[in-house]
Symmetry: D2
Subunit: 169 residues, 4 copies
């Protein structure tokens, strides 16, 4: 059974992140992982472009009801009609999640993954604090190569021990 | 962009339906359609087996959180954790839906498809009445060949005119 | 803990059903049950009007994102943004469900309730057949008084033995 | 139409937050607002206790399927069966959201609210950074009185201009 790695990221990120996202998608696909994302433009599209260029499979969980809204590099485009509810679907569909850049949707995916025990790897994304002190909650990658490597390790490890801690109750 | 045809059906149907479901999946895949289903056993597994044998792509929208619960003939297995909420996802992901056999889950998918404007084709499935009179609401196929043909026509027609009537509001 | 009885029904039913729905809501509230519904017009609004006139509590699970779309007789109006996905929420929120009149949304709620073990009572609603034979799946009430009585008995019984059979997996 | 204010917070917070949450619930109810929450223990229960003591209405959107899991201070307890998917329902049901303390579920609610345009007020909760710089995204209250006041102002303002920016698409 293939590994599934989610890629979360904004639809209109700064340009430098797009190259990183494309390389990330490529590396994930080269390792045989299915790339799951929200199916939109920006980081999502770039990751899909990279994955498809490497012969990989990409899945888009679209927020709306129109399949045509998906980016052109999706192997499978699924209109969920759930709005931001598709963010939780993305997390549940992923053995590990890479969060690329900012955006509040991405932050929600980080939080839902942390809450439900899905490993998260960050790349130029949110950092967290609590009570005025830093509260690092997930590893941060230096670049896309690093992010892919960390995510694949985490996904394999999760797959080997699928007990969802702390669960999704 | 590929057509997506949903196949709804029980996980423990009578045996005769399994051959029909497998042939249905085969015909849909031969026509280039992606087969979407709940990813479980029974009708769902048979349709996926047929589709994959014909080189097609199959997607399973699993009710639980464990990807391992999917049948072995899924190209893409997505744990939704939505329970019977995945039934609406199946409908939203489908350009047309074939309902095979009985089961209340299948009935819910028929109803949600009719409610949201997704074309339905029945095969040995529920019939509807209202006020003690028959109230046929969707075409019924004589066999799997017929069901595939009707579903593909309906899906193409829907794709050509995607306005969802009466919508999903 | 109060009983919760769901009332499913169309937003534009034939007029005769509105009086029935209002009486149903009144009787449920008189028995101390919370009335849960989709929050819209038609059967839903009439049931809420009756329940509130009897001093009861009414909950509307709205399909959209705008609380203002709820009918004016809701104690609590919750915009879910789930479209027809709120139908499953209604079923899950109900100890028993009364289905009033036709409509495919109502049919989906009947089916989801039957699938997940929530008792259903019908009032001038869908009848089911399978393989060209009638397949009655839930009790049908003769009028609103009867429907309220049957639903309250079923809800109490369900509450006393809450094991969800066959479950929602 | 009443204002609805969501209260997000952990089920096992540090003790000092419970008094704050109870006072918060009391102040919201005194102002006539319905308190919406996840229906669990900890911050949620304390806020409900305070709201009910002031004669208010409380709504719990439970993650599981068992109504009995709700805390004892709920006017209305709704089992959603959506797991952490109920977090988005909480956000959609709220005219403004107060986030109390840490917890990743709370963080997801902050993020979903920010993403969909629901005003957020923090109380001893997460702070955000981006690219190693603080990135404050919502006002932080000094205490429960302050949080209630800020949330009520924001909820009224939102109600007066309900255009959801940037929306939930």
């Amino acid at each position: 059974m293939s590994l599934y790695v989610g890629v979360a990221g904004a639809s209109r990120p700064e340009a430098a992140l797009l190259d990183q996202a494309e390389l990330l998608g490529r590396r994930l696909a080269e390792a045989g992982a299915v790339v799951v994302c929200g199916g939109g433009p920006g980081v999502m599209e770039a990751a899909c472009r990279g994955a498809r260029a490497a012969g990989g499979t990409t899945v888009g969980l679209l927020p709306g009801l129109d399949r045509g809204e998906g980016n052109p590099h999706l192997s499978v485009a699924l209109p969920t009609g759930l709005g931001q509810g598709r963010n939780l679907l993305l997390v549940r569909s992923s053995d590990a999640l890479v969060a690329v850049g900012g955006g509040f949707g991405t932050l929600s995916e980080i939080a839902l993954a942390l809450r439900t025990g899905t490993p998260v790897v960050g790349l130029a994304t949110w950092s967290l604090g609590l009570d005025a002190r830093p509260a690092p909650a997930f590893p941060v990658a230096g670049d896309a190569e690093d992010a892919a490597r960390l995510a694949l390790v985490a996904a394999r490890s999760r797959r080997a021990d699928p007990a969802r801690t702390p669960g999704d109750g």
